[in-house]
Amino acid sequence: ECLLSLNDRAQQLKLNDDRLSITGDKGYCSVRSTHSVSHGSWYYEVTISSMPSNSAARIGWAQYLANLQTPIGTDKFGYSWRSKKGTVFHEAQGNHYSDGYTENDVLGFLIVLPEPT
């Protein structure tokens, strides 16, 4: 079962025992899941169950070396889709992708990696 990683996260974040929810109060940072992929095409889905008005999310894919003390997509190792304005980010550059997403939206994240030679 894919959970939030116990160790692969910004250390100041507090991971709940169910390892399905995480909270933080020290600015924007990231947590990765327990499962990674290394080649081929992979896809996961996220259902936004609740999104308080002044909250925001950035969800996506990030390589091992991504800086977890910032949102995913701030450096060259990550790609994310933001709830606000539906912008996609890579290397801290935002590009328009869709309208913003919010509660009850179901998002899909596909990554296509080369097959090993």
Binding site: Q12, K26, G27, C29, N67, Q69, T70
Partner: protein, 157 residues
Amino acid sequence: DVEFADHFKFSQLKLRKKRLRYAKSDIHGWGLFACEAIAAEDMVIEYVGETIRQTVADIREKEYEVEGIDSNYMFRIDSETIVDATKCGNLARFINHSCDPNCYAKIIPVESQKKIVIYSKRDIRLGEEITYDYKFPIEEQKIPCRCGSQTCRGSLN
């Protein structure tokens, strides 16, 4: 009780904040000067500013450089937190570095926060410039030190 003691101690310290003023300094641009004699091991002032995370400080350092603003007004509290007095702070931001300083900085925990408090190392005369040893990180690009003390290390970094 410990929290109360800490808070009480700090509020006492606040009362003992000294009368200071900033003026032209021989060491570097502007400096902070004592407007009253200060006994050794007494509280001089708290170094106040915006508390930010290391990641935000890294970005601001670059932004200040681009804006041409001196980025020496950042003071590390611990491995995650920095006090940035560049755009908001108090007189403590004017304290210059000296290799033979008359003050030292101490991080004291008050409730859930940590505060940077400047204490006098020795008696300080009326009108004397307040200085402490900044302990800048060692860098390639050297910045000359003009503290003028006997034991001057020649460069800040």
